[in-house]
Subunit: 214 residues, 3 copies
Amino acid sequence: MTLHPTPALLDSLYWITLVAVIVSSASAVLKAGFKQFDLFGVIIIAIATGLGGGSLRDMLLDREVFWIRDQMFFIASLGSAVAIFLLARLVVIPPKFFLIPDAAGLATFGVAGTLVSLMFDAPWLIASFMGVMTGTMGGIFRDVLCNTPPVVFQSPLYATVSWAGSLLFIGMLYLQLDVTLAATIAGLAIFVARLLALRFDINLPVFRFKEHRQ
Amino acid sequence: MTLHPTPALLDSLYWITLVAVIVSSASAVLKAGFKQFDLFGVIIIAIATGLGGGSLRDMLLDREVFWIRDQMFFIASLGSAVAIFLLARLVVIPPKFFLIPDAAGLATFGVAGTLVSLMFDAPWLIASFMGVMTGTMGGIFRDVLCNTPPVVFQSPLYATVSWAGSLLFIGMLYLQLDVTLAATIAGLAIFVARLLALRFDINLPVFRFKEHRQ
Amino acid sequence: MTLHPTPALLDSLYWITLVAVIVSSASAVLKAGFKQFDLFGVIIIAIATGLGGGSLRDMLLDREVFWIRDQMFFIASLGSAVAIFLLARLVVIPPKFFLIPDAAGLATFGVAGTLVSLMFDAPWLIASFMGVMTGTMGGIFRDVLCNTPPVVFQSPLYATVSWAGSLLFIGMLYLQLDVTLAATIAGLAIFVARLLALRFDINLPVFRFKEHRQ
């Protein structure tokens, strides 16, 4: 299934991506802010988080990287970082709060990654994985740069929810649902499922090998 | 020396790459399986390991990334991961066993990386390094995501054997050997040399600076 | 503002990049040399450091990666690594000495990254960030591969100085200064400012959130 890039679809993609950049950058500031970085260090981590996953997606698809020509995305990332910085001077923000914009980034970049891959003729299985990759990679960059273990491999249902959401999105498109509507439903489903998994600590069984001595 | 992409050469490349993806993904599951990841976490690490080195090669050469349009490679990576997962439920696999598919991945992706670079007009020295890079990068992604020091910098003769094998491969092509034969010889040479280095713990002298106080 | 790639500009870019590759590779050997890597491990880290930041820049801009066709850059990286290796056998080099070629790499790759981005029609804000990214990314690769926290997030004024230098460079180009002159001034400014920040331990205030309990 190939999506044709109609103006309405490109418009939806633009706004989804803008939201994704803003929330991902915010998640980065909320995490990096508890480390000993200076202001520019935090801003660079915010930009790498906000623009990194989508950049990798675009390089893999050999598509123009989304933030190079249109500087709105870069400005949104920078603005989000500075706004959270100022906010955190006024209000006490608990350390775990970064998980909320992180879940929003997983949802929005997941949908955006799937959408763009379908527009570039990727088969549906590949497109669903590109959604997972786009959704999770920014957070992986953030956590590696913050020198903490990536949340994607530790936290309940992270990759699972992202993959299921991408597949749901593709299923709805296959059933001829309107793209914007399908994107909204899939995005909300990822976001809500991830927060529920966090709230009630729902986990897949941990994958562990039989040990030698037991 | 430029290689012309004949159908026979592209066919060889296809099969070498498929084997490389399968063994690299298997090495990832065998390593990640001893960590506390859930099933989808392990699968994502397997895919990053199986497809990562070749993706970086293709992006550096500005070539279409090999697994985007033809989903066979992605399916092979996924299938390999699931198969090893099921196997490890039945049989006890010692932790160090991942070094065997890892050596096979080093060999096959090393040959594939060199081959593709020569097809894209890279000079021989660059092509030999692209072989090393393609062969080692999947394992670096695997180890960074598993949060362990990359095997490439710690384990006997890893990069050495890979580089020597790439140069051997290019030498045989220069002497007009058949590409498939040369690829097989070079691949086996890397694989066997790496296992021998592991078995007999053969090391290059560690490169260490003179310390201040001595 | 778009820069037109005149022969003189391309010539300047060539030499700036060559210096950047040499000093960055040297910084990597000087850092990795105090770890337990074998010779080829150190060489691979040197090449990743010397070529990595510029490779990412070129992939993001969808430009031919600078070291694939012209092997001079690869040879320079390799030669620099071997030369430092030999030197370190003869002379005792203090561990912190790597910060000097590291600062030179930050300056030269910063200027080269900004320059190339402007040639590729990137808006000035994006170009300034691409300068920071190109200048810092090699060192990030080096430090991640050496398994130490990236110097960019820890060391005085690192990103700050780089960003300010890129903006200074763009400002001088806007005022119609000769490109080679502007590049030299901006590069020296970054290098000197970084060394002064190190020498006198000048820091931005560390960005830290209010903690819960205070």
